[in-house]
Homo-oligomer: 367 residues x 2
Amino acid sequence: MRTPLCDRFGIEHPIFAFTPSEHVAAAVSRAGGLGVLGCVRFNDTDELERTLSWLDDNTDGKPYGVDIVMPMKVPTEGSSLDLGAMIPEEHRRFVDETLLKLGVPPLPEGEGREGVLGWLHSVARSHLDIALAHRPVLIANALGSPPVDVIEKCHEHGVAVAALAGAAKHATSHVANGVDIIVAQGYEAGGHTGEIASMVLTPDIVDAVGPDVPVLGAGGIGSGRQVAASLALGAQGVWTGSIWLGTEEYRSLSSSAGWETAFLRATSSDTVRSRVYTGKPARLLKTRWTEAWAQEGAPAPLPMPLQNLLVSDAHNRINASGDPDVVAMPVGQIVGRMNQVRPVAEVMAELVAGFDEAVAGLEKVRG
Amino acid sequence: MRTPLCDRFGIEHPIFAFTPSEHVAAAVSRAGGLGVLGCVRFNDTDELERTLSWLDDNTDGKPYGVDIVMPMKVPTEGSSLDLGAMIPEEHRRFVDETLLKLGVPPLPEGEGREGVLGWLHSVARSHLDIALAHRPVLIANALGSPPVDVIEKCHEHGVAVAALAGAAKHATSHVANGVDIIVAQGYEAGGHTGEIASMVLTPDIVDAVGPDVPVLGAGGIGSGRQVAASLALGAQGVWTGSIWLGTEEYRSLSSSAGWETAFLRATSSDTVRSRVYTGKPARLLKTRWTEAWAQEGAPAPLPMPLQNLLVSDAHNRINASGDPDVVAMPVGQIVGRMNQVRPVAEVMAELVAGFDEAVAGLEKVRG
C-alpha cells in the first residue's frame, strides 16, 4: 500500500494513528505507519518532554507525529482558577448529583488532580514548542487550522501541518492558511466530529482542495476494507484513532479496566455525538454518564474550555471507579468491531492485508 | 462491473435505483441497472396499474423492481377520515401558522387532494397485489422486513424480497423472516435512516448476514468512487435514490421548479434527519420548513402514519408554491454533489466509469 504520502514521510503504509499513548504511537511507527501522539493530556510539560524523548528512542529511527488541540482564534483565557469561576453552580451541582446517582465514589484523599489543561491555548503552544525540539514529521491540530504563525513555525522546522475538517469549506480555509494535509473527519469518527459522513465528506474535501493537497480519510476506519473504501473515495491515506484503544500497548496508559469491558461489549449503535466531553460536539461511548446529560432537566453543556474543566474531576472519579456502565470516553462507531484486545502490529497487519484483499475483490467485480 | 446479483436479476451493473418516477426507473433499467419504482405516492390503484403497464412496455424487456412501504407489524388503522380525527388541533394549528409565516399560499379552489395513503398497511398490500400481476423481479420494502406472508407471496411469484436495515441486528432478523437481500441504509442516506454511517454499517451487515445474503450499500452513493467504496466494504451492489432526483427524466414527475433550484444550490451540510416527514426519522433537505419544526415551541412530530397525513396538504401547497426556501423533500447528504440536471444514462455511465477509475487507482496504491 503506497501513496505519495509514504515517500513524503518515509513510511511504509499511509496509515496515520492518533493515540494518547506513546507505546501505541511507537508501535505503529515501528510497524510502518505513522504514530501521532496526542498531547492534550499533558498538563506537565516536563512529562511531555520525557515522553517525546522516549518516542525518539523507541521508534527504531522511524518517523512519528504529534497532535495538539488549538483553536484558530486565540481565545481570552486565564488560569484554571479564573476559568473555574466562570462555571455556574448549577452545573457543578448536576455533576455531583449525577455521580452520586450513578454510584461513582469520590477519589481517595490526595488523589484529585487538576483538570486537563491541554485545551487551553497557552498550554497547546507550550506543547508545540516542546514537540518542535524533538523530531516529529507532522504536527496535527485536532481543532481545524491552527493560527497562521503556528503553521509558519512548523514549516520553519521542516514539519508538515495537518488539520481536521468536517466540511469542504473548512478544508479550503485551512489550506488558505497554509495547512499541508487535511484530515476529513466524518460523522462516524470518535472525538470532535461534524454531521457529514465519510462516504460523502471524503470526496467533497478531495475535490475541494484539489490534487496537490493530500487528504486523510477519518471516521469509521478499523479494518482493511474500510481503508480501501476511504482510498477509493480519493483519500491518499487514513487517519485512525478508536481502533488503537483496543490494543495491548494502550493498556499501559489506562488506569481503569472499566472502559475495556465497555468497549469490548459495545455495538456500532452504542455511541453518541454530544457536547458533554469538551463543549464541542464529539462522539463518545454511550453510557449512563452521557445519558444523564441527555435527560430532561440536565443543564446544557458549557462552551470549550469550561465544559472539560467542569467534568475533569468527574472523569478522574469515573476512571478510578472501573465501572463499565459509566465510562466517559471518545470513541467512533467502529467500537462495535473492537471485540478483542490485540497487539498493535497485528492490527496493522490486518489493515494492510484487508486492503489488499478488498482491492482483489474489486478487480474481480470490474472484470 | 459484475457481481452475482447481475446474473440473478439479468442486469449489467449491480446498481439499484429507487425512484418515484417510472421514467427514471425505465431509463435506469434500459441503461443496465435495476430501476425500482416507489409506490407510496399512488393513492389510486388504477394509476399504479397503468404505470406498471407503462413500465412493462418501456424497459426494452429489461427487469425492474417495485418498492412498497409496509411495517412488519400490521397496525390498527382506519380510513384517512378516522385517522384524521387522531391528529391534535395544536398540530393542525402549527402547520397552518407556519405556512402563513413562510408565505406559502393556499391551493387554488378545488386543487386540494387527499394525503398520501401509501403509508397505510392496507394500501401497501393493494400495491403489492397489483405489482405481482406485472413482472417485477424484486419487491423492496422501505420499512424493514414486510410481514412473513407477504414475503412468502413474493416467493410464490418467483420475486425476490429486499428490505432496508439500519443496524446489523435488524438485518439478521429480516433474513430470519425470509428476506433475500438487505439494503444497508447508512445515516447519510435520504429518507428513513438510522444513526450508523455507511462506512461502518455496510461491513457490519455483510458480516452479520454472511456470504449467502447479498447486501446493497445505501447512503452517500452518487458517484463511481462511492460505488467502489461500497463494494470495497463488502456490498454486492448499491442502492441509490437521491442522485436520480437530479435527472432530466425525473422532471416529468415534479410539478415544482422550487425543489430543483433548492437541490442544485444545496451543500452536503444542507440536510437534516427529522421526524417531520413521516413520523419516523428521515433525512430531508434542510429548509425553512424543517427549521420551523426544529424551533423551540414547535410540537413534536406525530407517529407514523399520522404525521404524513398531517403534513400532506402542506406538502401539496409547498410544491405548488415553487419556493425553493420551503421545500419538503427527502434527500441524502450527496445532494451537495447534485449540481446539474443530467439524463439518467449519463449518470449511469459516470457510476460505471468512475468505479473502474477508482479500482484502477486502488491497484496502483497496492502496487
